[in-house]
Symmetry: C2
Subunit: 501 residues, 2 copies
């Protein structure tokens, strides 16, 4: 009895410390949102000091002796399943954080701060050689970082685990290889197809203010909770927050109605995951989202499986036409415009559901080779261009539309890209389950009833927070292990029908 | 030599700690701004946890052993004047913070959280008895708080020093007594005057969006730096931030064009002070503003001495007329409308430059009596109504327009109100100095040249941060001790002329 009281006291104290750390992190997220969305330009000088102070405090609180003692005590304690999950998540982060010397963390942080403007300049000047030296430094630093965490492991696997801790790199690699094998011929068939899709349903110019009204209408229709969220514009759309306040950003381009809308729906998917996390576990792992694969599965599910479906366009096209009377398209034409395959597109963020994954495979392969030392930084542009030509049959003419297009490497993020593809794959697996379990899901979407799908996702995915590891969560939600079967089935059927394959 | 190196090391370490604490505080300010201006309603649950975590961390960092040791070492060290000022400011806060038990701080924080909804309800229901019990609790807690800080001092003086640490309460009291003595007969003369001011220059309805354009135009005209600021609306206008990011909020009422404009100019005054603080001392007392009297002097100077002057209206009236063609007034009429005395107004925030101070004197007297135990909470409504009748000849019919009108007491802020009047008094003293030192200041304002005045304020007040105490700063800026002479002279002349006294 006395023993168990002590244990429960220790757990409560530990949880108090966790909540404290997570609340500081949640505060930092608000500062980051503000920085991207509202902060005046010159505010950056003070803001970067505020954020680096917060991350130093968080790091210290996370790695102090007290935390180590709590974890040791709790490892030996008799905990229930939820408590065990909390300890598992915190221990994992504790170990990674304590293994890396503070000086290295600071050096990485300093170098990424310097890398961002170099990348921007290189991209603007279309000159990879401006970015190459600091990219090389970052790679060395991240290898060192990985070595501290686990000197015996594949360093890329260690880096990947920062973004997706519970899926083995081998499993991810296998999946990406399978996507490459099966998608390349499918993309070829699409390119060879003589089917002519109605691609101009949304061409023309669209006033951004009216686009914003349409985006708000889309969020209303999908069931976004405005008491717990808001919509703003940002150069690079993102979603951030917690279960009480999950915000969406998007962007509007006068000539790209569809882009603004799909970006809004994508970010809605992220936000609705966050909003589905349990209130009572706010600021603990049980109230935190699972990692990037699961998060991306939610955004892709809403963007692609819902937002690019015929049923959605039956529901939504009249709303578009009401605001933009110049749009004069049938549902079928809207559906085709939303799903055309751009096999000559060089830009990842503009890619369709098929070629997108070739952009990811390419990055994954290059990252691995860079980290393993098989490829030098100088060789990146050519390796990039060769490979995109191999996969898509088109070659970038400049580095800006080649290896300089993404911001991620300047952040020191190596191992992040694969989670985008894994997220799409998981979206298909989840959606297949939803279709099986929700009566007439397509019909419901056609009628604008999105609650059954959202409720199903809350029930099977969101409400668990980080209680389960990613593979456990997938198994729990779909009754099966993580598999690319559903994704490949989905795209084969969808694009087969669209392109008369 | 070795001694001096050690000292300088200690000072640098101490300053690092100070910067760390102030950066956490600056982060908290952003969270508060967001809460008032952007946060969705339900976000409050997570936000209050984030803010209370931050204030707990700040409190711990401020009051830990390390801080005590630094301060003891530095007290014995040979520091330059700037360093001494930093140590003075931090020691002052350190002592106040360490003397109050954490449990009491937490209890005050909890009680004020509960008091806010009680006050709101009491105000909405127009029933002081709803608010009275918790107001009583707050008064007891704040007395206890004051006792911990200095058991031998007048508790109200201790509370007052939270908002204005360097002006003795006796000095403030003397000034307020003088304002009462000299303003009451002046207000009486105005009431008896037969002069008829043109008060309807800005009556009618004014579209809030166009009002916002006008407010932006006002900020442009006055020289607000948009790279370091932004304008938003908020139910209770305020300004917040630091030298890199000082934001303004205001509110627009369709029937009150002048109210929105003067509130914008008032908050500009606060923001321009913040923006004038030295960049290089960000997150240290040398880069922080002096206390509330000086801050309020800046807002009142711009609101009243600039924004309610004839010269300003010569410059600004055409801008109003351009946006609101229905306004058909002469400069003189605009000036009179902006300066009419409302001797029957019951609401502090709607008061003119004369009667405003009677609202403050009233609150000051009631607060003192409450804290000294000479007045019971139950007696507040009657004491309030009696006194406002005595000073202004008009009696509130409800508590909502009487003792329930201000939010401050629900925050546990006793001793705050006097700084509003002291700020006005100081504004007049500073403006008199500026008029003496800037060649043809009035003519410059008439021409829309506000830089000379802003530069003068930066030079004499802003750039010093908290290097000087308030009395030293006033002496430094104006060559004289703090005095109400200029304010009384200003209002006597201004209102004498307006009302033919």
């Amino acid at each position: 009895m006395a023993q168990s009281t002590t244990q429960s006291d220790t757990y409560e104290q530990f949880l108090g410390k966790v909540r404290r750390i997570e609340n500081l992190g949640a505060g930092a997220s608000v500062l980051q949102w503000d920085q991207e969305v509202k902060m005046p330009d010159d505010g950056i000088e003070a803001r970067s000091q505020q954020l680096s102070t917060l991350s130093a405090v968080i790091h210290e609180e996370f790695t102090d002796e007290e935390m180590g003692e709590y974890l040791d005590e709790l490892d030996a304690a008799d905990l229930d399943a939820e408590q065990e999950a909390v300890v598992r998540e915190i221990r994992r982060q504790y170990e990674r954080k304590t293994r890396v010397p503070t000086e290295l963390v600071e050096e990485i942080s300093r170098t990424t701060s310097e890398a961002l403007p170099e990348w921007k300049e290189a991209k603007a000047e279309d000159d990879f050689s401006i970015f190459a030296p600091i990219l090389g430094e970052l790679i060395e630093l991240k290898k060192e970082y990985a070595h501290h965490i686990d000197p015996d492991a594949d360093p890329y696997a260690v880096l990947f685990a920062d973004y997706e801790p519970y899926i083995e790199l081998e499993k991810a690699e296998e999946m990406l290889a399978r996507l490459r094998e099966e998608l390349v011929p499918l993309i070829d068939s699409v390119a060879d197809s003589e089917a002519e899709l109605a691609t101009d349903a949304f061409s023309g110019e669209f006033d951004p203010e009216t686009q914003e009204e349409l985006a708000r209408d889309a969020l209303d229709t999908l069931g976004y909770d405005w008491d717990r969220g808001r919509l703003d514009t940002a150069p690079h759309p993102f979603s951030t927050g917690n279960q009480f306040d999950a915000r969406v950003t998007t962007r509007f381009d006068e000539t790209d109605l569809l882009g603004g809308l799909t970006s809004t729906i994508h970010e809605f998917g992220h936000a609705t995951y966050t909003l589905g996390l349990p209130d009572e576990h706010y600021a603990t792992p049980l109230g935190d989202s699972r990692d990037l694969t699961v998060h991306e599965s939610q955004s892709r599910l809403w963007e692609n499986h819902v937002g690019r479906s015929r049923a959605f366009w039956e529901q939504f096209l009249p709303r578009v036409e009401k605001r933009f009377p110049q749009v004069d398209a049938s549902v079928e034409e809207a559906y085709e415009a939303a799903n055309q395959v751009y096999d000559d597109n060089l830009i990842r963020v503009e890619a369709d559901e098929l070629t997108y994954h070739m952009h990811i495979v390419l990055r994954f392969e290059i990252e691995r080779e860079l980290i393993e030392g098989e490829l030098s930084v100088e060789e990146v542009p050519e390796a990039w261009n060769d490979r995109i030509e191999e996969y898509l049959g088109v070659r970038p003419e400049t580095d800006s539309e080649g290896c300089l297009q993404d911001i991620h490497w300047s952040h020191g993020s190596f191992g992040y890209f694969p989670t985008y593809s894994l997220g799409s794959v998981l979206a298909a697996q989840l959606y297949a389950s939803a279709e099986e379990e929700i009566d007439d899901l397509e019909g419901r979407i056609r009628e604008g009833e999105f609650d059954p799908l959202r409720d199903w996702l809350v029930e099977t995915v969101h409400r668990h927070g980080s209680r389960y590891t990613t593979p456990e969560l997938i198994e729990e939600a779909t009754g099966e292990a993580f598999t690319a079967d559903y994704f490949l089935e989905y795209v084969t059927e969808k694009y087969g029908e669209l392109y008369d394959l």
